[in-house]
């Protein structure tokens, strides 16, 4: 409908509207609204195609890279829903990435507070150092990390891997968090301080409630990064029963196995569920998902 409507209405638009009459102005506004809506919907449809392919193939008995109507089957899911392929790796991943994310977020909130509130000569160099370190691919440091983990007997340990994941996510976390915190006005804080609140109380009662969006963004960002990280757990964990889902997924998906499209798609869906859930749960707290802090102003 909308598609056929829009060109006609658009044509009504006067070429020059120096002194707009109320009527034409109204039509123009409607016309551009329709155009905006239509183009956004068309764009979304195009954006959706790859996701749609994944959904269709996962329930298709004879999947391929072609987009096709499925001959429905639950076989693909049935094949992968077992302890070795799915449940245990997912649980491991949730433990490590969940723990790592929490540790990272807590540490970056704590670290962001002094960085955002107090002046110091060391502040700028510190911030730039951690900012630049985000440019280093983590694969590059894994060899020394392995040697180090062997020496301190942290190799093949899930808590050890969790700590490293948290540390690797920290630079970006601190940097983002500090920026979000900068956006929280000082005025309220000063009032609370005059009332005798200490720094921890100020941070917890005044600053944090005002920057939940920021905390949530950092949480989501950190978790997505860890959840997709394949190389770190692959190198640091030796026992197969400790490996998280990302290791299996990475090896399966990057092999483009020609014979198991359906299973790979089903696995991709299962594997994506935790991140999607995390987003849905947290975005609800954001009230619609649009509050990616105006504080990202630099």
């Amino acid at each position: 409908m909308a598609v056929t409507d829009s060109p006609r209405t658009v044509r009504v638009r006067p070429a020059v509207a120096r002194r707009p009459v109320i009527g034409t102005r109204h039509t123009r506004a409607t016309a551009s609204r329709v155009a905006v809506n239509v183009s956004l919907l068309a764009f979304s449809a195009l954006y959706l195609v790859p996701l749609l392919w994944m959904l269709l193939v996962s329930v298709n008995a004879h999947g391929s890279f072609r987009l096709s109507v499925p001959s429905p089957t639950g076989e693909n899911f049935r094949n992968i829903l077992n302890s070795d392929t799915t449940y245990r790796p997912m649980l491991n991943g949730l433990l490590m990435c969940g723990g790592g994310t929490m540790l990272c977020v807590v540490c970056s909130v704590l670290a962001a507070y002094p960085l955002s509130r107090f002046r110091s000569r060391l502040r700028r160099p510190f911030l730039y150092t951690i900012l630049f370190s985000t440019g280093l691919p983590i694969t590059a440091v894994m060899i020394p990390v392995y040697s180090m983990f062997v020496q301190v007997n942290l190799i093949d340990s899930m808590p050890g891997t969790t700590l490293f994941l948290a540390a690797a996510a920290l630079p970006f976390g601190i940097w983002l968090m500090k920026n979000f915190m900068d956006g929280v006005p000082l005025v309220l804080e000063e009032a609370a301080r005059i009332d005798g609140a200490n720094a921890m109380q100020v941070l917890w009662r005044i600053v944090l409630p005002l920057m939940w969006p920021g905390v949530i963004v950092v949480t989501i960002f950190t978790f997505i990064g860890m959840w997709g990280n394949f190389f770190v757990p692959f190198i640091l964990l030796l026992s197969p029963e400790k490996l998280p889902a990302s290791v299996g997924v990475f090896t399966f998906l990057s092999a483009h196995d020609q014979t198991q499209y359906g299973q790979l798609a089903a696995f991709s869906i299962i594997y994506s569920i935790p991140v999607v859930m995390l987003y849905l749960v947290l975005a609800r707290r954001l009230g619609g998902g649009f509050a990616l802090g105006g504080a990202l102003k630099g």
Binding site: R18, S32, R33, V36, N37, L40, F43, S44, Y47, V49, P50, L51, W53, M54, S64, R66, L67, L103, L110, A111, P114, Y128, I130, L131, F132, S133, G135, L136, P137, T139, A140, V141, I143, P144, V145, M148, A167, P171, A199, V217, I224, G228, F230, S246, F250, S254, H256, Y261, L264, Y271, V275, L278, Y279, G289, F290, L292, G294, L296, K297, G298
Partner: protein
Amino acid sequence: MTVTAAAAPTAGPRRGRAVGGLLRGVPLLPAVVLLVIFLAGPIAYCVYYAFTDMQLTGASGTHFVGFDNFTRAFRDADFVNAVELTLVFVVGSAVIGQNTLGLALAVLMEKAAKPVRSITSTVVIAAWVLPEVVAGYLMYAFFFRQGSLNAILRGLHLPQQNWLYTLPILAVCIANVWRGTAFSMLVYSAALNDVPQELVEAAEVDGAGPWQRLWRVTLPVIRRSVMTNLMLITLQTLSVFGLIYTMTRGGPGNKTETLPVFMYQQAFTSSLIGYGTAVALVLLVVGALFSVVYIRLLKIEED
């Protein structure tokens, strides 16, 4: 801990401030401890490795070789190719792709009806929260010769291509735009919220068209968000590895072999740890250079 805190008030004003200064930094401790132990140490080792001929297999000892790895890199046609591709990838997919598309979406969504807005944001964000390898796999399926893109083009009677063979760098750029635009969109949506409505309306009354309003009013107001967003997505895009590796493994040939992929191939496929880490350090420098440019631009604003 309690002791030092209690001691602070009794100390003289100067000492008090010094202790206070130190105390203020205490919340930094957990982060700093983690960073120093788990990142600073290994990175220092990497810097050392970059000046050695370390191999994971094939040689018994490790020798200091000075700047050999770096001079070798700059004479290596594949390395130069990787640097060029990295620049194309960062500029094409992040600076131009994600940034522009994110801004366009944010602007359009402000004007759109509420259901359309939710649909668009849901779809775009869904692509963002997908794990990197899954996104890579989906994009591979999308661009594959018998994949969805060619099916759509065939439906529209447009010429088809074997995208991953003929235009692989474009394919991985689009893949990165597809996956990463949500971040810019969210940043700009938030930033646009803060643009005072009166300013826009005033410009409209003065007869400024939509483009002029965007260029003259909105962008100057949100310029700091633009710079910060650019810096973040640049750094993120520079180290993209899983997406490209899943889609093309750097091929065909080395047509999508950006620096992270090149580094991985050298360090782990050819087992040249020394050379690989040297490449990683170059990548670090490239990231720092980009950041410095953005920071400078922000600073000029401040002055």
